[in-house]
């Protein structure tokens, strides 16, 4: 039967209609030459087995469903957080298209970025001419206050020298002599997006700091790191700075550029850390990073300029935030105000109200290194028990730190740390040794489908739910939001489980 024009079905319902089910059946029987139902059933059972898990964990070269992206997207995200800054991909043109799409799909926002559109001739002769022409066009057309160049792997493989290319572009008049161009080499075959963030941050800072004399002041710089919740978390960071009355600079502030209002005009640039503040940040007493693996080189650099440095691991919830605030207070000499203490008390209050639903439940967690550390710690504060803790882009230091964290609490006793593993590994882990819940990005939806472990969507990217990035995850207030997200899924799962019999399908919980 054709559609009913008054009750139009799209793909969500249409393909359950008998005509379409018949088509699928016939196509399979007559044309597809697929394995038999028996073979499929056997293999489907086998991939849930312990034997398959062992083979799966023994993989050496093949990567399936990794939870990481490549350096340049991290670099582009970092540069988007500076005033009037245009990200510039030096390399082939598809890369910038991918980075822009990836960020837009998560933030549901425009993501501006240009590229030097290198093709085969550039592969042979190098991309100098692309840089010269590209900088001239980008400067004329998009009138940025700064251009931040990162590289795609093509430029890295052929060995293009950004520094020399940019100098030559200035000489050719592509951009004015004093126009700021930061640049970072961000090979996709080294590290991941968190390293790209670090490289770009260091490059932007050095662009403003080099050759300047540091006049040590009282201020504090804060680095948020690559963060799918960067919009709301930046606002939380600035709120803390304002509430504590400290002289603080958030380096890379994406709160406006990835959250511009719809009011009839498109703002390609909006907000961001001002270039003046970025220059002044050299004088800060200290630079603090909320994500250790997003700021390795940057903090070394800040230290080399005489600043104090400290790192945190994505402080969600109580202890992580406590440590961060106390460090901030100690560095600036400003007390932690009562209003923040009250925020803390509200989070404690909420946890006390809800603990019965989380205590003793097991949680597997995947995502970026600092995210997994911060989330694991918070889960243990809630009385949850971390089980499989997986980080595709985690290194040996991350593994050590995770093990220490788990050892610090009796709730960490079950925790297993999976460094450098992917989500196909996680599939085996959940199939053979399931946790009650899974915390991670939208990629986890395939795990939920295959293993039945309910996914609590927290992480990057979130493609299939809208606007989560508008709400914070960090500190006490973000912790509250994370708590609610976890609880909602727990309650939904219980309702789903009990709605058929009606027993335990309770109105009040």
């Amino acid at each position: 039967m054709p559609q009913n024009a008054l009750k139009i079905k799209d793909h969500i319902d249409l393909f359950n209609d008998p005509e379409y089910l018949e088509i699928f059946k016939r196509k399979r029987a007559e044309f597809e030459d697929m394995p038999s139902d028996d073979e499929v059933a056997k293999q489907a059972a086998y991939i849930n087995s312990v034997e398959y898990r062992e083979k799966n964990l023994a993989r050496e070269a093949l990567v399936i469903n990794p939870a990481k992206a490549c350096q340049p997207v991290g670099a582009a995200y970092c540069s988007a957080g500076f005033e009037g800054t245009l990200a510039f991909t030096h390399g082939s043109l598809g890369c910038a298209a991918y980075f822009r799409s990836h960020l837009s799909r998560h933030f549901k926002e425009p993501s501006a970025m240009v590229c030097s559109a290198m093709t085969e001739d550039a592969a042979v002769f190098g991309g100098l001419n692309n840089m010269i022409e590209g900088l001239a066009n980008a400067y004329a057309l998009y009138k940025p206050k700064m251009i931040a160049v990162h590289t795609s792997c093509m430029a890295e493989v052929i060995g293009d020298d950004l520094n020399s290319f940019i100098i030559q572009s200035r000489e050719k008049g592509s951009i004015p002599e004093d126009f700021p161009v930061a640049f970072a080499h961000t090979p996709s075959f080294v590290g991941s997006h968190v390293v790209g963030y670090d490289n770009m941050m260091k490059s932007i800072l050095s662009n403003f700091w080099e050759g300047k004399e540091r006049k040590p002041g009282k201020g504090v710089n804060i680095i948020g790191g690559f963060d799918g919740y960067g919009v709301a978390n930046a606002r939380e960071i600035k709120d803390i700075i304002a509430t504590m009355g400290i002289e603080g600079t958030l380096l890379s502030d994406v709160s406006d550029v990835y959250d511009t209002p719809a009011d009839g005009s498109y703002r390609m640039y909006d907000g961001g850390t001002s270039l003046a503040d970025t220059a002044k940040s050299l004088d800060a007493k200290a630079t603090l990073s909320l994500q250790e693996w997003c700021s390795d080189k940057t903090l070394d650099y800040a230290k080399s300029k005489g600043q104090e440095v400290a790192t945190f691991n994505y402080p969600i919830g109580l202890s992580g935030t406590d440590e961060f605030l106390m460090k901030l207070s100690q560095l600036t000499g400003k007390p932690i105000p009562e209003s923040i203490a009250r925020d803390r008390g509200r989070l404690v209050d909420a946890i006390e109200d809800s603990l019965a639903w989380i205590h003793g439940k097991s949680f597997s967690i995947f995502g970026d290194p600092d995210f997994v550390l911060g989330m694991t710690r918070f889960v243990m504060e809630l009385g949850g028990e971390p089980l499989h803790l997986l980080c595709t882009n985690g290194n040996a230091d991350w593994e050590t730190k995770m093990k220490e964290l788990l050892a610090s609490s009796p709730f960490g006793a079950m925790g297993q740390v999976w460094k450098g593993k992917d989500l196909w590994h996680m599939r085996s882990l959940l199939a053979t040794e399931p946790s009650d819940y899974l915390i991670g990005s939208s990629y986890g939806k395939y795990l939920e489908k295959d293993t039945g472990v309910p996914l609590i969507r927290i992480g990057f990217p979130i493609f299939d739910r809208h606007h989560h990035h508008r709400f914070p995850t960090l500190f006490y207030k973000g912790g509250l939001r994370v708590l609610v997200t976890i609880l909602d899924k727990i309650f939904d799962t219980i309702d789903e489980k009990t709605k058929v019999s009606g027993i335990s399908y309770d109105l009040t919980r």
């Binding site: 196509k27 030459d33 298209a97 493989v157 996709s188 075959f189």
Partner: protein, 482 residues
Amino acid sequence: MDGMNPDVKAERKALIEEVLSAYPEKTAKKRARHLNVYDEGKPDCGVKSNIKSAPGVMTIRGCAYAGSKGVVFGPLKDMVHISHGPVGCGQYSWSQRRNYYTGTTGVDTFVTMQVTSDFQERDIVFGGDKKLEKVIDEIHEMFPLNKGVSIQSECPIGLIGDDIEAVAKKKAKEHGKMVVPVRCEGFRGVSQSLGHHIANDAVRDWMLGKGKSKDFETTPYDVVVIGDYNIGGDAWASRILLEDMGLRVIGLWSGDATLAEIERGNKGKLNLIHCYRSMNYICRHMEEQFNIPWMEYNFFGPTQIARSLRAIAEKFDDKIKAGAERVIAKYQPMAEAVLARYKPRLEGKKAMLYVGGLRPRHVADAYGDLGIDIIGTGYEFAHSDDYQRTAHYIKDATLVYDDVTDYELEKFIDKMRPDLVGSGIKEKYSTQKMGVPFRQLHSWDYSGPYHGYDGFAIFARDMDMAINSPIWALNKAPWKAA
């Protein structure tokens, strides 16, 4: 058709000049050749195409890898496609085209999986062939029911001199399964387009008529549908019509396709091509090599669907001709009911399009059916033959923009103030912030199908919801509204 008011043409020409004035001289000269106001009766759109994008201008184009892995190979469901190189390309394209398929993912089908060799520095320095061999071995261990493997090359592969063809041959022999090397490195060509071509060549050289799929009886009514990627189920909404009229769709390239359907692709009596740009190459090859004729068709909107069904039926006997009439008669009342519901709400609205290699012309009449005028259109990666084909679809004074830059598109939208823009994810949010309704026309904005009669109903519903949402009247604060 009445010619447009000459003032409108002059205005649009002036708009092009205004936009070009922002560029440095050299780039302005380059870009000028890609922008035009269409003169009715001309055999093409008067723009240059398939030329390198200018650096630094925010082109919307993607790369050859996107054209091969993302478009042609990605939907092929019972093979495992390796994104060969660093992690990013596969990650950003993972599950993003909604090429629907039936099967058990991870067991007999693999479309929504991101499989990569995840190159590290040592692979660049020492070469990746050894790693690739191991990757293929491990694929067979993890997914023994796979029908084969394709190697989708990312930029570094061609730059470091890896011999993926040798690896492919060796591993195909060892495992007794197909391994297809594809040289679709992102730096090749100027857009996705060369990636399509390279992918077509790989199908020709490594897959078509080869392999081990069981032979089967052919009939005089066998057709192969080419260039439908089953986005949101498009190919299914098309297949239902072709089967209903009495044809047998023995292969569907490559939406919901199995390797067997590709291998037997040369057994049809007629090749029906929807996306001409991405798969015309293989149709021409089959015409030369196997004498299989091919024809283009258009399943967007009732006017074009009926025309296409009749044109297809013309190639067959009376039974099929009667079948086509029967199908049209069956669906026409629904199409009319859809038009009765939506056309009054959409009549006289104006739309601008900017999409890939087919839709900027193919959807024009579907909009026309709804009473919506196309006032601007353009392609990311079309060639001159696409612009020739476009001339039949568009009206006098339509603004045509090839490989448009974000800057140009924003200015055009801002000055022409269409009631709807149809383009991609990168254009969606900036357009909406300008207060202009938008639908993604690559992914159907997560809706679909849009092909066929069933699809047209959804298309009409979606365009109406975009254009007539109450939100557009509320995007100015009342105390600020003029």
